[in-house]
């Protein structure tokens, strides 16, 4: 190798790093520009520019019942799933953490395996057919149950780890003073595992809020579809999309996820991972 002056080399590599960082920043920022600018633009189009600021687009969104209904549906699906997941996962993870049920560890490993292999994509055919035969297509509560089943293994895992980390001394002392199991659960255990339940709840909300595939294949009535699906059918139907509506709707629909993420990240330093994707 020919000797290169170390100063030159350092300068070159530093320039390389700067260029790389600039390219990466542009790459990640560019697609997001549209979401930030267009909702406030006077003449919204595919163009990501701000020619004249106005809030007219939001006004139009306010008067569109279809879009508000889809957000309501999203809240119902996400909230319903979060409630089902929180309640059943809390019960299961407490029992699995504190009581030695035979085969518990194998069960937990099987759950871990299942949650990662039976994805929404891999199971869409049998799940669709199952609901078709049970006459449960186009029923929102069925979507809630399907989504809950998909999220539960990961939720039980997270919560069981959480319960494992709580010392038993609180429950022990309550027991010594003669509290019944149900009293211990309600007054000691519930307050202790509440932060874990909150985390799992928010995690479920975010997973369902953005989920497209499951409601897309299981709900065909557009009055029942959540925002994820309506957002897509909005621009898929061909012709020129209604930019005033689609841009503001995209923003309004995105904000909750970002807020929830920030809350959880700040409180627990927790990042979303796992669960059914896609």
């Amino acid at each position: 190798m020919t000797a290169i002056d170390p100063v030159v080399r350092r300068t070159v590599s530093r320039i390389g790093v700067y260029v790389g960082v600039c390219v990466a920043t542009v790459f990640f920022a560019l697609p997001l520009l549209w979401l930030v600018l267009t909702p406030f633009s006077k003449h919204p189009s595919y163009k990501a520019t701000l020619d004249g600021v106005s809030l007219d687009n939001f006004d139009r969104l306010l008067h569109n019942p279809q879009l508000w209904r889809s957000l309501r549906n999203s809240i119902y699906l996400a909230g319903g799933t979060a409630v089902v997941v929180i309640v059943t996962a809390a019960l299961a993870s407490y029992a699995l953490s504190r009581v030695r049920i035979p085969g518990r560890d194998q069960l937990l490993y099987a759950l871990l395996l299942l949650s990662s292999i039976v994805t929404g994509t891999a199971a869409m055919v049998p799940i669709f057919l199952m609901l078709y035969q049970l006459n449960l297509l186009d029923k929102q509560f069925a979507v809630v149950l399907v989504l809950s089943g998909g999220l539960l293994p990961a939720a039980v895992f997270m919560l069981k780890d959480f319960v494992d980390s709580i010392p038993r001394s609180y429950e022990e002392s309550a027991r010594v003073f003669g509290a019944s199991p149900s009293q211990i659960l309600r007054h000691i255990v519930l307050p202790l595992i509440r932060p874990g339940m909150a985390t799992v709840g928010v995690w479920s909300l975010v997973q369902v809020w953005g989920n497209f595939l499951i409601p897309f294949i299981l709900l065909s009535d557009d009055k029942k579809q959540p925002a994820a699906v309506v957002m897509y059918t909005f621009y898929d139907t061909g012709g020129q999309p209604n930019f005033a509506l689609i841009s503001t709707f995209a923003l309004v629909y995105s904000v909750p996820v970002v807020v929830l993420y920030l809350i959880v990240n700040k409180r627990y330093g927790f990042s979303f991972q796992g669960g059914i994707k896609g």
Binding site: R98, V99, R100, L113, M124, L145, V189, M231
Partner: protein, 315 residues
């Protein structure tokens, strides 16, 4: 992850029902085994119905000629392994499989992995505001809903008014039609790099600063430090990350939102192919199940490798 931390092996079984709260009895609330089973039951029943049963049913459905449209609509017929032999000679399937491998290989194994690592590596010594800015952008790409980011990319790549064409002065170029695979691959790098970045950031924190210092004092260049000190230390994280993003990308349905698998099936990955075969048009559920099974088996292999590896790492 998920390490059973409390159980002591080979301890005498506690008697059923409320046992005295002894020192070694973890059941401090006095639930008892039956009530505990009852507690676990609702979650397990939901999982059994909506995860276990569909997976097993796929095995059976794959053996049927079963469509919701067309001739066999009402009477599913048992056809043995014909769906599978048909699948192997179906050019659309082999193409979808090939495209899926391209998609996973370039967007996840190479793209997200390398870019995520580079970002994490760069962040160690970066100025705070640069790090925070990039971090926020990369995370936003990851947490925004799929149908929103898909539309953002439609806007970015639009033929007439798209931002990309405006920057490159290439108005009229229809990226999603001319280069559909490149589009979904680059899109997925954009979408998913956050996870690798987070994981590698955490991993790089485990590399002892003193080791790097020693290497630096010994005259190792950054690239040599990387190869000889950092990579051996975070080998395990690299494997974890690669397996997880491979699994997710393999099952990713988002390309459908961007290109719909088109034009001409040129970006039709396996998930999109399954959707179109089984749930659109003729709704050939039996035939589609054969492919679903293949996806399940591929997932199973990746997951088993991963779990064996996690268990091995703990010893």
């Amino acid at each position: 992850m998920a390490a059973p931390t409390t159980s002591k092996p080979a301890e005498a079984d506690a008697p059923a029902g409320p046992a005295p709260a002894g020192r070694h009895d973890p059941d401090v609330a006095g639930l008892g085994r039956w009530r505990a089973t009852g507690f676990a039951a609702p979650a397990l029943v939901l999982v059994a119905i909506f995860l276990v049963f569909p997976a097993l049913w796929t095995l059976y459905l794959g053996l049927l000629d079963y469509s919701l449209g067309g001739k066999t609509a009402q009477s599913p017929q048992y056809v043995g392994l014909r769906n599978f032999s048909d699948a192997l000679s179906d050019p659309l399937f082999t193409k979808a499989l090939y495209l899926t491998l391209l998609y996973v290989g370039f967007s996840a194994v190479l793209g997200q992995n390398v870019l995520g690592f580079l970002l994490a590596w760069y962040f160690r010594n970066a100025r705070a505001w640069v790090r925070v800015t990039l971090n926020v952008l990369v995370l936003l790409a990851w947490i925004l809903p799929g149908s929103v980011v898909a539309f953002l990319w439609q806007a970015l790549l639009d033929r007439q008014n798209g931002t990309l064409n405006a920057i490159l002065h290439t108005t009229g170029t229809a990226w999603t039609i001319d280069h559909p695979m490149a589009v979904i691959i680059i899109f997925n790098i954009w979408r998913g790099t956050a996870f690798s970045m987070l994981l590698y950031s955490a991993a790089l924190n485990t590399v002892p600063a003193s080791h790097l210092e020693v290497a630096r004092l010994a005259g190792a260049r950054p690239w040599q430090q990387l190869r000889d000190v950092v990579l051996p230390t975070i080998r395990r994280h690299v494997l974890t990350n690669t397996l997880l993003i491979t699994l997710w990308t393999f099952n990713d349905f988002t390309p459908y939102l961007l290109t719909g698998g088109g034009p001409d099936n040129k970006s039709q990955t396996l998930p999109v192919f399954i959707y179109k075969t089984a749930l659109l048009g003729q709704q050939r559920l039996g035939y589609g199940s054969a492919f679903s099974l293949l996806l399940l088996v591929a997932n199973l292999i990746i997951a088993v490798v991963y779990i064996r590896f996690l268990r091995g790492a703990r010893r």
